[in-house]
């Protein structure tokens, strides 16, 4: 049996997969959209990551599912919540991590971890998508941009507007109102990012703000959000091009641990 393991993270908007080699080197990864058929999305995520790694399914010894769709990873041997997986993944990339901020499609999480990447405490947004990736999607749409454009644009703002809404639907109305008043979209975007940073900080304070802080999830790829968090915290946050994959990476690491425990 090989020591190759995979982690499949089925989030609310994207499916991610990471394939890890014996030496915990990332051999392949994938990122795709989540649609109606989550089971198929999970299978596709694994297939794509295996293709990226030039491996076949039979070469993978252990698969772990995580994310909201973790129970749909039927071909896996283990399920672990994404809270534990982001903590483990962040610890793997940035071993000094003590607080993980994960902003995904519909969830924002603050996860306090220890030196082993285990969860010490966590807090999440309540039943509301304000302050999540979905919030940015809706507001980008209202301004006529693709969500991938808004981070860089927000960095060009001269004077960020104040976005007060704590509700995605109301924030969209607020954005429209600023547009009709002639505000520069870049300033509106900077205001939106600042409002999410403010909400996120409040969540982080519930578990205790402790450096190092690692930013994970899809929204961590948004440079505007990274800067807004940095400004609100007054401290830098760790970000990596792999940040969006940290849930899947953490899942693979949990699988590796389970595999080793089984072997011993």
């Amino acid at each position: 049996m090989s020591g190759i393991v995979a982690g499949v993270d089925i989030g609310s908007t994207t499916a991610k997969c990471v394939v890890l080699g014996d030496d915990s080197r990332i051999l392949g990864k994938s990122l795709g959209a989540v649609g109606i058929d989550i089971v198929k999305d999970a299978e596709r995520a694994l297939e794509a990551a295996l293709a990226d790694a030039h491996l076949s399914r039979s070469e993978v010894s252990f698969v772990t599912g995580t994310g909201y769709g973790r129970y749909k990873v039927y071909f896996g041997q283990l399920v672990v919540t994404e809270i534990s997986c982001h903590a483990r993944g962040a610890n793997f990339l940035f071993p000094g991590t003590r607080l993980v901020v994960d902003i995904g499609g519909q969830d924002t999480k603050a996860i306090r971890t220890n030196e082993r990447g285990e969860v010490v405490d966590f807090a999440m947004n309540d039943k509301c998508a304000a302050g999540t990736g979905r919030f940015l999607d809706v507001c980008a749409n209202a301004l006529g941009y693709d969500v991938s454009e808004i981070g860089p644009l927000s960095l060009q703002a001269r004077r960020a507007v104040k976005v007060t809404s704590t509700c995605t639907v109301f924030a969209e109305s607020e954005v429209t109102s600023y547009v009709s008043r002639g505000k520069d979209p870049k300033d509106i975007l900077a205001g939106l990012h600042a409002s999410i940073a403010m909400r996120t900080l409040s969540l982080m304070q519930r578990v205790g703000v402790e450096p190092e802080i690692t930013f994970t999830g899809g929204v961590s790829q948004n440079q505007g959000m990274v800067r807004a968090l940095h400004q609100r915290l007054g401290a830098p946050v760790n970000v990596s091009p792999l940040s969006q994959y940290l849930g899947a990476l953490g899942a693979a690491l949990h699988g590796r641990e389970r595999l080793s425990a089984g072997a011993s």
Binding site: T64, G65, Y68, Y71, Y74, G76, Q77, L78, V79, V80, T81, E82, I83, S84, R116, E118, V119, V120, D121, F122, M124, D126, K127, H254, E257, R258
Partner: protein, 434 residues
């Protein structure tokens, strides 16, 4: 840190083999109670509406009243998935989203005619607002009084900031109890019978002894009871039928069953991995689903605060036929939600030790601030001051729209994963030092 997929068969299914005769008897008592309330004969026995916390059931029973607890009617609606229609009706009457689910369920139900799947809820002949610590409750009773033209007796109970009740507070409540007696004499045309009250109080005391014996079984390792989920069933006699022989006898059956469980090893779970304290009102609308979230991790609720809303009997209080009015006054003062947060914290800290608790789960409810406000601070206090792993989750006791299974499950799974990790690390450290 994780769960094997193979253990996830039939999520949502709660095996209940450990529940035997007592559960059947409880069902029978509930059915008899609601069918007995139906005003099939005229004139029917008078009905008093009362709130559970600090209630004065013994006094009105001494005058031949039946007691209806709209909170309990509401929770019965919720557990039978009938609360949302009533709540939506109340909202159509103008009650806002943030108004207490108990209140909206009851007012909606009343306006729709009081018919439930478990019986017809009779109109009140008297309204006794026995817990005045919640402003919404006061308004609820005022709305009912206006709607039915029934007299409203407002029982003013001072908030408890010290563990022992003050004499002046007891005297103040006793004076109000006599006012209630005079009102009841006037309404019924009957003279107050102190001997009858003492007889009822003796039955109450007998039920309280039995109830406490059941609750304390959670101290055993492994626990033969589910102190939160199972107590939800057995709270009915102590809250609704307290003062009757049936209630007192019921706990004899319960405790015999619990002793048999210990003898036969018929326990809530095959393996008790985590001994959990639960604080807060249950999500009645999804109670079995919620229970399953505990069971899949081997977590048994060995102690809970919610079953104490009808009285902190396990802390030593008993109704006392030798001191009838004084003990009723002390009972009302000692209602769980009438305790200040430092007192509630102390109760919980004592439970953690007495019941050898591994972790606490706090379930806050959106629509009740009087129970829930302060639970965030409680969580922090338990984690930082008591060193107890604690999870706070939120939904509602009545309104199913606030129960999001995936989100609650995710939080609970992550919480138990972290407990599992801590145990694994501690075991490794122990092995290394051995």
């Amino acid at each position: 840190m994780s769960e094997a997929v193979s253990t996830l068969a039939n999520p949502g299914e709660v095996p209940s083999a450990f529940l035997r005769d007592a559960r059947g008897l409880q069902r029978k008592l509930v059915e008899e109670y609601y069918s007995g309330l139906a005003p099939s004969e005229k004139p029917h026995r008078p009905v008093a509406y009362m709130l559970v916390g600090g209630n004065l059931a013994e006094i009105v029973r001494a005058f031949g009243y039946d007691v209806v607890f709209p909170e309990i009617v509401a929770l019965n609606c919720a557990i039978k998935h009938q609360s949302l229609d009533n709540i939506l009706h109340a909202e159509s009457m103008g009650y806002g989203l943030d108004v207490c689910g108990y209140v909206k369920n009851d007012l909606g139900l009343q306006d729709l005619g009081g018919k439930t799947s478990f019986g017809q809820i009779p109109r009140p002949d008297l309204l006794v607002c026995s817990f005045s610590g919640c402003y919404i409750y006061v308004k609820w009773w005022e709305a009912l009084a206006e709607s039915y033209g029934a007299p409203l007796f407002m029982f003013d109970v001072p908030y408890m900031r010290e563990e022992a009740p003050r004499k002046e507070d007891v005297d103040y409540l006793v004076s109000q109890l006599w006012e209630l007696v005079h009102l009841l004499e006037k309404r019924t045309g009957r003279a107050f019978d102190m001997d009858e009250l003492k007889r009822i109080l003796a039955e109450s005391r007998r039920a309280e002894d039995g109830w406490v014996e059941f609750l304390r079984a959670g101290r055993l390792r492994p626990s033969p009871i589910e102190a939160y989920f199972e107590s939800i069933f057995y709270m009915f006699p102590i809250n609704v039928l307290r003062g009757t022989r049936e209630a007192a006898d019921f706990y004899g059956v319960v405790n015999e069953e619990v002793r048999a469980r210990v003898r036969e090893g018929n326990l809530p779970l095959p393996e008790e991995k985590y001994r959990v304290l639960v604080e807060g009102v249950p999500p009645y609308t999804n109670y079995r689903t919620f229970w399953d979230f505990f069971r899949k991790w081997g977590a048994v609720s060995v102690v809970a605060t919610y079953p104490k809303v009808g009285g902190l009997f396990d802390r030593g209080f008993r109704h006392d036929p030798a001191r009838p009015f004084e003990s009723i006054a002390e009972y009302s003062l000692g209602a769980y939600v009438n305790q200040s947060w430092p007192l509630r914290r102390q109760i919980i800290a004592d439970y953690v030790k007495e019941y050898q608790v591994d972790a606490a789960i706090i379930h806050g409810i959106k629509s009740c601030r009087s129970f829930t406000a302060g639970q965030g601070d409680l969580r922090d206090w338990l984690i930082h001051e008591q060193g107890l792993p604690t999870l706070y989750i939120e939904s509602d006791h009545q309104d199913p729209r606030y129960f999001s299974p995936a989100q609650i499950k995710n939080r609970m799974d992550a919480f138990f994963e972290s407990l599992e990790q801590r145990r694994a690390v501690a075991a490794t450290a122990r092995a290394a030092s051995a």
